[in-house]
Symmetry: C2
Amino acid sequence: MIGGDGPTLGVVGGGQLGRMLAEAAAALGVEVVVADPTPDPPAAPVARDALVGGFDDPETLGRLADRADALTIEIELVDPGVLERVAEEAGVPVHPSPDTLRMIRDKLVQKRRLREAGVPVPAFRPVEDEADLLGAIEEFGEVMVKARRGGYDGRGNVPVRSREEAAEALDAVSGPAMAEEMIEFDRELSVIAVQGDGEVATFPAGENVHEDEILRETVAPARTHDEVRERAQSVAGDVLDLMDGRGVYGVELFEVDGEVLVNEIAPRPHNSGHYTIEGAVTSQFGQHVRCVLGWPLGSTALRDPVAMSNLLGDVETARPLTRGRSAGEGDPAGSDDPRPARLTGVDRVLATPGASMHWYGKREVRPLRKMGHVTVVPTEGEGREALLGTARELTDGLTFADR
Amino acid sequence: MIGGDGPTLGVVGGGQLGRMLAEAAAALGVEVVVADPTPDPPAAPVARDALVGGFDDPETLGRLADRADALTIEIELVDPGVLERVAEEAGVPVHPSPDTLRMIRDKLVQKRRLREAGVPVPAFRPVEDEADLLGAIEEFGEVMVKARRGGYDGRGNVPVRSREEAAEALDAVSGPAMAEEMIEFDRELSVIAVQGDGEVATFPAGENVHEDEILRETVAPARTHDEVRERAQSVAGDVLDLMDGRGVYGVELFEVDGEVLVNEIAPRPHNSGHYTIEGAVTSQFGQHVRCVLGWPLGSTALRDPVAMSNLLGDVETARPLTRGRSAGEGDPAGSDDPRPARLTGVDRVLATPGASMHWYGKREVRPLRKMGHVTVVPTEGEGREALLGTARELTDGLTFADR
C-alpha cells in the first residue's frame, strides 16, 4: 500500500547515490530524507530534507530514523553499531543489516566469509607486520596490499611487486591490512545483485574499465563469452546468500581464463550499475527502494546495450593518486585544489542522440572527484563498441572552467 | 555550461507535471523551485523549494523569479500579465512567452489563430448568446460548446445535440463561449511538440483513449497508418510555428477519414506524453527543461512501443462529471468526497515485468482526480495491443482503501 503520507526512506549519506536514489524514489511515491556531514549535499535538492551530521552521530541518525519508515545507506562509512541502535530505538527496519555492513567494511573479514562459503576469490592472507607481508610475497609473488578498512576508489590499495617495496607499502596503508595475490585479469566485470523480500535478481554482467583504480567506464553486457557472463551472475547470486538484509549489492569480479573471482562487494547501489538507469527495465536505484521497503522487484533485463562513462574532476591535470591515504568523505584526492565546478562542453553531450547527461550538483571540483556521468544507448542499433567510444569521447570533451 | 550554483528553474505550479519536471531536471543538474497555492504540493518533495501563493500573486511569482535563472509553467491558470511583469523585473527569461499563454488560454483566440495559419481545425464560431448557439447548430448540426476560458479535463465542454439543449448548455458554461462542430473521429491522437533554441522536434504520434473527456490511456505509436502519424507530426510542427517561446507543447488531434484536425493545445508537458519517460530516448520533461534553458534537444525517438494508463481517483463510484463547472485548481470533481489517498494493489504493478508505477504523492483522493499512472514497455517483444491491455488491467487492479 502506498499513499497517505507515503513511505519515507531514511538514507545515510547524501552524495550522488543518494541523489539518484531520491530521483527513483519520487516516481514510486516514496519520499527521501538524507543525513550527511556536508551541508547541502548532492541529494539535497531532490530530497524532502537533508539532515546535517556525522555518519556515526547518534543524534543525527536518530532524527533520521524518527522520520523514516525504513533506513538504508548510500555510503559504507556509517557506523553499523549506531545505525543498529537508532533503528531499534525508532522501531524501523534497516537494510542491509548492520551485521552485513560490519562484515563488508572489513575487507579481510569479507574475503574470509566469501572463501568459507565457497565463493571464488583471489588467494589472500592477513598482514599485521612486514614479516607477514614478506611471507605473502613468498607465497603469491606480486601482491596487492589492502587496508582492511576505509579504502575507497583505490585508496588504501598498494601494489607490491618486490620485497623491497614491502615496508613503504605498509607505511602507506598504515593499519591492519591484508595481502592478495595480484590477479592478471582478462577483464573486470561487475554484477548488480538484488535481494528483495523473498526474491532475488541479478542484472546482466557489465564490464568495467578502471584507471588508477577509479572506475572510468562500464559497458553492458560485458564483452565476453555468454558462459562467463552467466557465471558472473551466478556467483553474484551466491554472494547474496551471505548477505543479511535486503538491498542492492555491487559485486566486482575479475575474469581470468574464463573463470571469475570476486574482488569486492559494496552493500549499496554501485557506480558500475549507473548504466541501469537508461539501460535496464528497472534501475538499480528503483530496485534498492523496492528492496528496502520490501516491495516486489522489477525486471533486471537490459533494454539495449549501453555504455556509461564517469565524469571525473580534472583527470588530465590531476597529480598521481597518492596511494594509501586515509579515506575522506567519499572523494579521492579530497584536498587537492578545490574550485567552483563549472562544466563546459555539455551541449555536445546533450545534442548527441541517445546520450544522457547526469550531473551530481557538486559545487566544487577536485582532481578525480566523481562529478557526473554520461550514459549512451543506441538510437540506430549501435553496438557496444560504438556506444563505449561515444561515451568516452563525450566525457573527454567535458572540461572544467578555470576559476 | 552547468555547475557552480547550477541553473535553477522556477516553475509556476507544483502538481504532478512539476514533480516529473523536477525528477528530470535533477539528472541534468538543474534545481527546481515551484510556486503553488496549495502548501506541500506533489512537486515539493523533489523540489529545492515550494513557494506558497496564488498563480496570479505578484509577490509569490516575484519571489519565484528572483530565485530562478529561467521561468516556466506547468499549469495554464497562471496570469500571463503577472508572469510577464515579474520576469521582466527579475530580468529572467520566461518560456513559453506570456503572449503565447494568453493566446492559448482563450480557446476561441487559439482556434482563430490556428485557422488563420492554415492549420486544420474543426469548424467553429463564437457564442455570445443563445441566438449565436442556435445559429451554430443550424450551421454545424451537433456541436460542442466550450467555455473560452478555464476549461480543464473536459470541464467547460458541453455537447449539444439539439436546439432544446442550447439554453442549459449556455447556463453550464456560464460565460464567453464558442461552438465547434461535433467531430465523429476515428481516433484521438496527440503529438508532443518541442520548440528549442533554433531547433524543433516532435515525438511520434500517440493514440489517446478518453472517457468522460478525461484521458485514460495513451499508446504509442498510435494504431493508425504511417501517413496519418506523419501528418499528425507535421501538423504539430506547423502549430509550433505559431508559438512564441521555447518549450514542450501538447497538441491533441482528431483523426477523421485519414485526415487530422487540431483539437487543443497545451503550452506545457502533457498527460498524453507521460509515456515518453520510459518509452522515448528523451522524456517530455527532460525536453522541457532543455528548451526553457535554451539547451540542445534530445532525441524524440521511441525506444519501444509503449502504453500508459492513468490512475484516477474512484472511477467506479464517481458521480458523472458535472459539465461546465468552473475550473478548480487542476483537478476535476474537486469538491467530491476527499479522503486520505491510500492505494492498494500496487504489488501487482511492481511485480509485472516492464511496468512502471508513477505515484504523484497527492495526500487526498477525489473522484477522477489524477493520482498517478502506469507505463508498460515490452520485456519480451509484446506489441502495442498487449501493452495497452496490461496497462489497463494493472490500473483497474489499483483501488483506494476506504477511510
